[in-house]
């Protein structure tokens, strides 16, 4: 007998599958090039760039204040924190201190935005795993939040709601009361979502042990936000490098234990409760005074560079801005989007899992292609 391998009964070969860019579960235009062995994922390669708009290049062509509307369009479900990141970086560069009332309004807008963004995440994550009802509940509350935004700045999605040196408007009459009512009612709504999911056996089966990230890997790959905290690393820009007036606010940073999809889910749910807590404190302590610092009409920078970052709903959102002397626009503005960095770990998280887990992992990373492609 020769030692050649006998012909196998079935020809087994890997199947290439292009998952996206037009697919209901890839949250926009992500494309994942999959190598499949049956339903098992052998390899996954995210392919991005379908939503590239050259935002960073556009920044170089326009005066600093005009950059802010363009930041809206990066993470388009969390425009306020994008504005905040750019303004915080610019204020650091120009040495501007914003008035306390402006800082509190900013924090309120940012936390409302965090709630809205996490609601979108929960809705899409649940619908990816097959539970359709949370989607409608969360969008009901998100609509109420967007109503507050609309009342404040006229826009619901691309807010353009902050200025370098503060915020453009004072709060309209009655806004504080309406926001207060929303904040008071919100924990009950979170309970409602948790009732549908947290102890649901199928939900637990689909999320526990899926897409596990060790704390070492999370740090090595530069994960931030809930994916990092889900792995048990206590790191939140609001605590470690406080901006605006977060140092005056009392809140906790939830962390997970196992670094799996279920822990990241729990972390975000607690984060929403903490946002409510922050909002409550902001509403109670809202100081009087101007809402914008005295800044010149035309902003001129000196030679320099700055990195300013904020804790966006999806992680650390940083702006690295390089300026030349007396320039009115950035020489270069590099954005560090949390989704882009967090997406890097996708292949490692799904390798060996099934196709159904891929959508769970994409959901748990909470990516927005607008800020990945910029």
């Amino acid at each position: 007998m020769s030692n050649h391998t006998p012909p196998s009964l079935f020809d087994v070969e890997e199947m290439e599958l292009s998952f996206g860019p037009q697919h209901p579960a890839t949250h926009g235009v992500l494309r994942v090039q999959l190598k499949l062995d049956g339903e098992k994922i052998v390899d996954a390669k995210p392919i991005i760039g379908y939503l590239h708009r050259g935002t960073e290049k556009l920044f170089e062509t326009m005066p600093f204040p005009q950059c802010i509307p363009h930041t809206d369009r990066m993470d388009y479900v969390a425009a306020a924190t994008n504005n905040q990141g750019f303004c915080v970086a610019m204020e650091k560069l120009l040495g501007i201190t914003i008035p306390p009332r402006a800082a509190y309004i900013r924090m309120m807008l940012a936390e409302l935005q965090r709630l809205a963004s996490h609601l979108v995440w929960l809705a899409t994550h649940a619908i990816d795993i097959g539970a359709i009802t949370p989607f409608f509940y969360t969008f009901r509350e998100r609509d109420a939040i967007l109503d507050l935004f609309e009342e404040y700045c006229g826009a619901r999605l691309t807010l353009n709601t902050m200025k370098i040196g503060g915020v453009p408007f004072d709060l309209p009459a009655g806004w504080v009361e309406r926001c207060s009512a929303l904040v008071d009612g919100f924990p009950a709504h979170i309970d409602e979502y948790e009732e549908l999911l947290t102890n649901n056996r199928i939900w637990k089966k689909r999320t526990i042990g899926i897409g596990v990230v060790s704390p070492e890997d999370a740090i090595d790959w530069g994960l931030t936000g809930p994916p990092l905290r889900g792995s048990g690393v206590q790191w939140d820009i609001r605590k470690v490098f406080p901006y605006d007036r977060y140092n005056e606010i009392d809140f906790e940073i939830p962390i997970g234990r196992n670094g799996d999809t279920y822990d990241r889910y729990l972390v975000r749910m607690v984060e929403m409760r903490q946002s409510v807590r922050i909002l409550r404190q902001c509403l109670d302590r809202l100081p009087e005074g101007p809402v914008i610092a005295k800044v010149p009409k035309v902003l001129r920078a000196r030679d320099g560079m700055v990195y300013g970052s904020v804790e966006a709903p999806k992680g650390e959102l940083g702006y690295f801005i390089v300026t030349t002397d007396k320039a009115t626009e950035p020489y270069r503005c590099r954005v560090r989007p949390p989704s882009f960095v967090n997406l890097q770990l996708l292949p490692d998280m799904v390798r060996g899992h099934l196709v159904a887990d891929l959508v769970a992992v994409i959901g748990t990373l909470d990516i927005v292609l607008g800020e990945i492609d910029r």
């Binding site: 209901p24 990816d128 795993i129 097959g130 539970a131 009901r140 649901n200 196709v355």
Partner: protein
């Protein structure tokens, strides 16, 4: 006309046409019911534009599906692509030939049965015919020449085959109690026993209904068409009336599974509490309501549970679904057969 012609040609023809039309109407309005009930569960209104409160929506849907362009993908296997919707649609209607809705009544001296045929192997007929639909799903998924469809087809092949086993055993436990394979006979056995079979066969009923949900590819076992993973699953590439056939078959199968659940476990067309009200039976309000209405109420209760599931549960993963089927339901259903068998032996001697 002579008596045999009326008895064996005219009446069956009328029966068939009436049952088909009524079924089509019920299925059309099931789609509306599902959308409405789901909407109420999800703080929405649901369809409300066509007709008063959206009541004409199913008719508009039918016209829309007829008017749609019927696309066949360029590299699809054309004949099989056409065959698949037929294979899935026909069996789902065929099983209604043996499903009874009520008791025999007489019109002008002719006995009219509210079913087309009462054959002595009715339950085998239902299980056998409805299994043909699996071919429709596999072939449809394969013929589309689309990887998502193929995966959907493979998933449902595995799912339907493995869930048919515990489903069969759950039915066996009822057969042990009734001693007949005829669906009419099973309902009559429940009337004679004075107890619906879901009470002694509660475990069997649980297994039957879980498997039934899986057999109809409904949430939480809707993997073959898991939208977020496989786009549309096996019917991704289908459009127009071909898609409508898949759609109709799904609702028809929901009706079949619910009807069988009612017949096997909930006394078919019998009014509730047969043993409690045995004395005041004839005069009570419950028996005044026609049997068909009782039947419909029970079936609709199951349909509501289907929709409720869809509004509540996430979706199982493929391997978890297999584990539930083979590791839990199959041993449980075997144990159930043993349990019921011993029970019947002891009670009937």
């Amino acid at each position: 006309m002579t008596d045999p012609i009326i008895r064996f040609v005219v009446i069956p023809l009328i029966q068939t046409v009436v049952i088909l039309l009524v079924l089509l109407g019920i299925v059309a309005y099931l789609t509306l019911a599902e959308r409405k009930v789901l909407a109420w569960m999800q703080v929405r209104i649901g369809p409300n534009r066509v007709g008063p409160r959206g009541l004409l929506q199913p008719i508009a849907d039918v016209f829309k599906l007829f008017a749609k362009e019927d696309l066949t993908p360029a590299r699809a296997e054309r004949f099989v692509f056409l065959l698949a919707p037929i294979l899935i649609f026909v069996p789902s209607f065929l099983v209604w030939a043996v499903i009874p809705f009520g008791e025999t009544f007489t019109v002008a001296g002719f006995p009219i049965t509210p079913f087309i045929a009462d054959i002595n192997i009715a339950i085998l007929f239902v299980l056998g015919v409805s299994s043909i639909a699996i071919y429709g799903i596999i072939l449809g998924g394969w013929a589309s020449n689309n990887k998502f469809s193929l995966m959907g087809g493979l998933r449902s092949a595995a799912q339907l085959v493995s869930y048919e086993v515990p489903l069969g055993f759950a039915v066996v436990s009822v057969l042990l109690m009734s001693g007949t394979l005829s669906l009419v006979g099973i309902v009559e056995a429940q009337r004679d026993a004075g107890i619906w079979f879901f009470l002694p066969g509660i475990l069997g009923f649980g297994i039957y209904f879980i498997c039934g949900v899986a057999e109809t590819n409904r949430n939480p076992f809707d993997l073959p068409e898991a939208e977020s993973e496989l786009v549309g699953g096996f019917h991704t590439e289908y459009s127009g009336m071909k898609f409508a056939f898949f759609f109709l078959a799904e609702y028809m199968n929901m009706l079949v599974v619910s009807s069988l659940a009612v017949i096997l476990f909930f006394g078919g067309w019998l009014p509730p509490f047969p043993n409690l009200l045995a004395g005041l039976w004839q005069s009570s309000l419950l028996s005044w309501i026609p049997p068909f209405i009782w039947y419909l109420i029970k079936v609709m209760a199951f349909i509501f549970v289907y929709i409720w599931f869809r509004g509540t549960f996430p979706r199982y993963r493929f391997d978890q679904l297999m584990a539930v089927g083979w590791k839990w339901l199959l041993p449980l259903s075997l144990a159930n057969v043993l349990l019921v068998g011993v029970g019947v032996l002891v009670l009937k001697g």
